[in-house]
Structure formats: C-alpha cells, structure tokens
Symmetry: C2
Subunit: 362 residues, 2 copies
C-alpha cells in the first residue's frame, strides 16, 4: 500500500516524500513553494527526502491544482523573408529568460494559425503567449484580446491598445542610420530594405524603418530612395545595378537585411564602387556579423537578446497581475565601424575623419 505512486509511474510522488520525511503532504508542498512558513528543520528534512528519492513534481498535477502550467507559448514566424538567425536569437533568448522565471516554452509556428493559439490557451497548456513577427494589421491581435490570457507581442501592430508590445524602435533606427550618413555629408542615400513580400503583408519593422529613413532624410535635406530587396544574390545584384543606374550619385546605403549584405558588397565591387571611399554603408544586422565582414560594418544591431528578455519579463509581470506598459521601444544603438566615411564630395562642416577615405573634403 505504501509507495503506491511508484508503482504506476516509476516516479516518486509528493506522498512518498511526505512519508519519507514524516510530515504531511501539504507541508511538503509549502516547503517547496514557500507560500506558508515552514520551520527551518522541517524544510531541511523535506528537501533531504526530496533529494534522496529523486522527486520531481508532476507538471500536470501541479497545473491542474494551481491553474498554472508554468509554460508560456512562443509563436514563431515561418514565413518567407524572415531573418532566420535573428528569429533564432529571439527564441533562445526567450527560452533562457523563461527558465530564469521557472517557466518552460512551448513552440508554436504561425502556420497553425489562430486556431492553434486558441487551442493552447483554452486548454490551459500555457499561461501566457509570446507572439513574434506581428504585422500591422495582424489577425491574431483581436484574438489575443479576446483570449483572456496574458500575452506580449514582439513587434508593433497598428493598434496596440490594450496589448503589451516590445520591439526595437525601428523608426528611430531608420533615422539614426540616415542621421549618421547625413552627418558625414551624404546628400543622397538609399535604403535596401526587406523583401517585397514583407512590406506587402504589412510587417511592422520594415514599414517603420522605411518611415524613419524618409523622415530623417526630409529633416536633413537628404534625398532618400527606398527599395525592397530579395535575399538572393541575383536579385540584389539587379537592384543595386538599377539603383546606381538611376541614381548614380547615391553615396550612402542603408541595408536592412543581413542576408543581402554579402551580395550588396559584391555588387558594389562589380560596379567599381569602393566601400567606404565611394559608398558608405550602414547595415541593420547583428554586431557579430558586422565585425566579421570586411570592411567591418557600421551597423545597428537588432538586440534580439534584450527584446526577448524584456518580453519575458513583461509577460511574467502580466502573469502576476501587475500592470505592464503597452509599448516598450528599445533605443537603437549605432556602432561606427569601417564601412562609412565622409561623402566623396564631403561636407563643409566635417573637420576631420579618422578613417575617412580619400574623398574627405579637405
């Protein structure tokens, strides 16, 4: 009769622990959760028994009794045009952060659609939901509102009312890139953005970056042309050729597409335009990537790690019924490296440049 739990599943149960430690089941539970005071001696004894028996609480039972699964769902995009490495960074950051809050992560792919979300949430498999790759008019947004489970979006929909969103401030990122180029005297810049499909489906970050670029350009009296850009070498090549055919005086490039950077460099080389002497280039890409390129790229990284961590923290706050801000936008950080220099027909106001190309106007 004793040790009954072991018979069925092979795992010791909380009852086994209680028996072994000579206390009540509830005492074990409280010793573990700390929700009521338990004397030092008892707690030690309980913990010792737990270790001896190799006890691990049964997740299902715990979820059922406490109405908390200690699992959050992470909805990842699978679509074309996403930046796989960045998504991966998010995912790992989220998993790591969640573990620090004693939660696990259930992986969902967006292609299961809203029905998947509903199933997961209604079935109480997860306590909360993290959604990546949010579009401006995302179908999942109204669903999340109605679902009644805490959620955090990574990305920024058009209407964030009543939601919690975290993202890099891509608008600002676009501005920062242009400001940097403008400061170096570039008067004509281009944004090589995300693939056309990404704009078409209204993905927030692409639109916001473009808007930021346009706005800053207008403010600084810079001409800006923006064009989408696929991720394969051939299309990049075509785009770049076309760009310089139409606007030969473009001297500053913002590339928002890690996968396109290599091909862009190749295309520029083929056109005989040197970086940074003839063309300055700012990339939106991970620092590590920027460091390893040659020349090292002036870049604005997407702080996936931090966004993921923030998202989890906010979700935990909501799970604890604490208030959370609707929108959290992280300030972009531009690191100057070797791919940008003063414009060929340099600006009057720039006095010196350390690594400036021969085009510096002095």
């Amino acid at each position: 009769m004793t040790g009954r739990g072991r018979v069925a599943s092979g795992q010791p149960t909380i009852a086994d622990v209680a028996r072994h430690a000579g206390v009540a089941v509830s005492t074990v539970s409280y010793a573990l959760s700390g929700k009521r005071a338990i004397s030092e001696v008892t707690r030690i004894r309980v913990l010792a028994s737990i270790r001896m028996l190799g006890y691990h609480p049964n997740a299902g039972a715990r979820a059922l009794a406490s109405r908390r699964a200690n699992v959050i769902a992470l909805v990842l995009p699978l679509r074309s045009g996403i930046q796989v490495p960045v998504v991966m960074q998010f995912a790992t950051a989220v998993v790591t952060a969640a573990r620090r809050h004693d939660h696990d992560v259930l992986l969902l792919t967006s292609d299961e659609g809203p029905e998947g979300l509903r199933r997961i949430a209604a079935g109480a498999l997860v306590d909360g939901v993290l959604v990546m790759d949010v579009e401006l008019h995302d179908v999942r947004v109204p669903l999340l509102r109605e679902l009644g489970r805490p959620s955090v979006l990574i990305g920024l929909p058009a209407d964030s009312c009543g939601l919690t969103c975290v993202d890099l401030d891509f608008h600002r990122a676009g501005q920062v890139c242009v400001e940097h180029l403008a400061g170096l005297g570039h008067r004509r810049v281009a944004l090589l953005g995300a693939p056309a499909a990404v704009y078409d489906r209204g993905t927030g970050f692409a639109h916001r970056t473009r808007a930021g670029v346009a706005e800053a350009a207008a403010r600084h009296g810079v001409d800006a042309v923006t064009l989408p850009c696929e991720e394969n070498a051939a299309d990049v090549r075509r785009r770049v050729d076309e760009l310089f055919a139409r606007h030969p005086d473009v001297s500053g490039l913002v590339v928002q597409n890690e996968a396109a950077v290599g091909p862009v460099q190749a295309a520029l080389a083929a056109l005989g335009r040197r970086v940074p002497q003839d063309v300055s280039m700012v990339a939106v890409c991970p620092d590590q990537f920027a460091e390893h390129a040659s020349p090292r790229l002036t870049s604005v990284p997407v702080p996936a790690e931090e966004i993921g961590r923030q998202a989890v923290t906010l979700l935990m706050r909501k799970l604890a019924d604490e208030p959370a801000p609707e929108v959290t936008l992280l300030e972009p950080r531009l690191t100057v490296r070797d791919s940008t220099a003063t414009a060929p027909d340099g600006p009057a106001e720039v006095t010196f440049t350390e690594d400036g190309g021969p085009g510096a106007a002095h």
Copy 2:
C-alpha cells in the same frame, strides 16, 4: 451550483458539456477519445454541445489522468558553429509533424544541460524527447538511456545501442560528392568542412562526412585534403588562399558549410579561379540556397524536413510501445547544377558535358 467550472477559470469543463448534452461525463470522454463505442446519435449530440460551449479539454487534467501530456520536448543546440537555418528547418518540421500526431512541442536549449532534460522528463511535462546536434560521445546519451522516456536522436552518437537515431547518411554524402568529382575527372579534391570547434567536440556529421570523403577518395585514386573552416569571410579567405598555395592543382571542392559558400566563391574569384571552368564545387546546403547562388551550385541538401518528420514518426511509434529501428540513415541525393564540370585536364572516359567549361578534354 451548476456550471461551476466556468466560475473558476472561465472555460467550460467536461461536466458542462455532459450536462448540456444530457449524458454522463464519461460518455463525453469516450465520445472524444473513441476508446469505447458510442452510438452515432450520442456522439453527434456531444460534439454539438462541445462546439456550442467552445469546450477545450484541460491539458493538465488530461495529462494527470491519462499519464500522457501529448507534448514532446525538442532539444536544440545553441552552440557556435551550428547552421542556424538548418536548425530552424528541423524545428519547424518537428513542430509541424508533431501537430499532425496531436502533440505539441516544448523547446529546450542544450545549455540547460542534462538537468533540464531530467526535470522535464521526470516531471512528466513531456512524453518523449527529441535531441538534436548529438555528439559522438554525448553526455546526454547515457542520461537518455536511464531516463526511461522514449527518445529519438537527430544525429548519430558513437554507440547507438538501445537508442533510436535518425540522420542523413553523411558518410555516404561525403562519398557521393567525391564520386561525382572523380567521375568528372578531378584527381585532387579538398573538403572545406565545418568550423574547427565542431570537429573538436566530436560532432557526428562533420566527422562522418570527412571519413566518407577520405574513403571515397582512396577508393577512386583521388587525393583528398580536408580542412576545417570558420564561417566568417576573413577566415575562409585565408583557408582558400593557403589551400591553393599548398595544393595548386586542386580542382574539386566540397564545401560543407552554407555560410562559407559565398566567401569561398569570392576567394576563388580573387585568385582568378573560375567556377566551374577551373574549379568544380559541390556544396552541402539547402537546395533553395544552391538554386539562388551563381553559378547554381551542384549540391547535396540536408533534408531537414524529412529527418524531422521521420524523427517524430519514430518517437510516436515508441510512445505507442511499438519497436523502432536503432539507426535510420537517409540516403543523400546529389543534384548536379552549374558549379561542377569536367576537370581542366579532363578524363579520357568522359565523352560530353552539356555545361562543361572550356576545360572539357576534347
């Protein structure tokens, strides 16, 4: 008193459904699971009630009562040198396949280590485990054996006894690449492999590919030099320069590293070696990538999609207590494209090549 379940969680419970349909709770359960015969009329009525109330079974309760969580764990690598896009492909394939078997996927990262696995498995959060990126002497292998939960490895450890493993037959893949090159008359080939760290930690696929290359080379009287290769442009450049400095007569290249392909092409171009006229190149990379490169690459893809699907199928089989083969190796498939041609000093036995460069021996 009635509708009690709705008070606490807002979700209807099975009791609500039973009441609404005018049947017993167990009848609803059986109607849903099909584990006992239920008359057509009753089942229809139950399903109608379910739909009306928007009922979703509570996952925790179900897991507790049935001892089945309907969740599998996926352990993803996070380490350096992994091919992020490929990992992502695996992950999505696994999620999709798992859903088809009515299971969800819990995401674990290897950096939680064995303790994470133990926690998950012992706590019955998951029914089974899928482990990626297995090393030849992986610490997790003994753990998996002792864990007492079904598991499937993606990869192949040195000792697969008592386990279930799925992978591409990388040994064969190495052979196939060399055989293709040898058939085109190349007498001296090189393998640009994974980063050194990957070999150092004994990752199966890297070692097996290398062995396959060496073996096939010996068998066909071809000289083969193999060298590791980091993923940044600078290192690739150095490796390639060095390679051709030491072995100027290398005319066939096997590149097992998607990220290195671009830089390798650049390096070859810089050395004035044309692909495929001077140097033939076979890549181990996704078909899509090979298609978009220029020239289009002769390649052996890693069929992540299929491996993931197989892995899930095998795991489901084990969950159902059916026997599963210890080792499943998928036959590699080489697709000839435009990056390989007959060797510059062409072989006598080759008669014609459609896209062969000027080096064809005729």
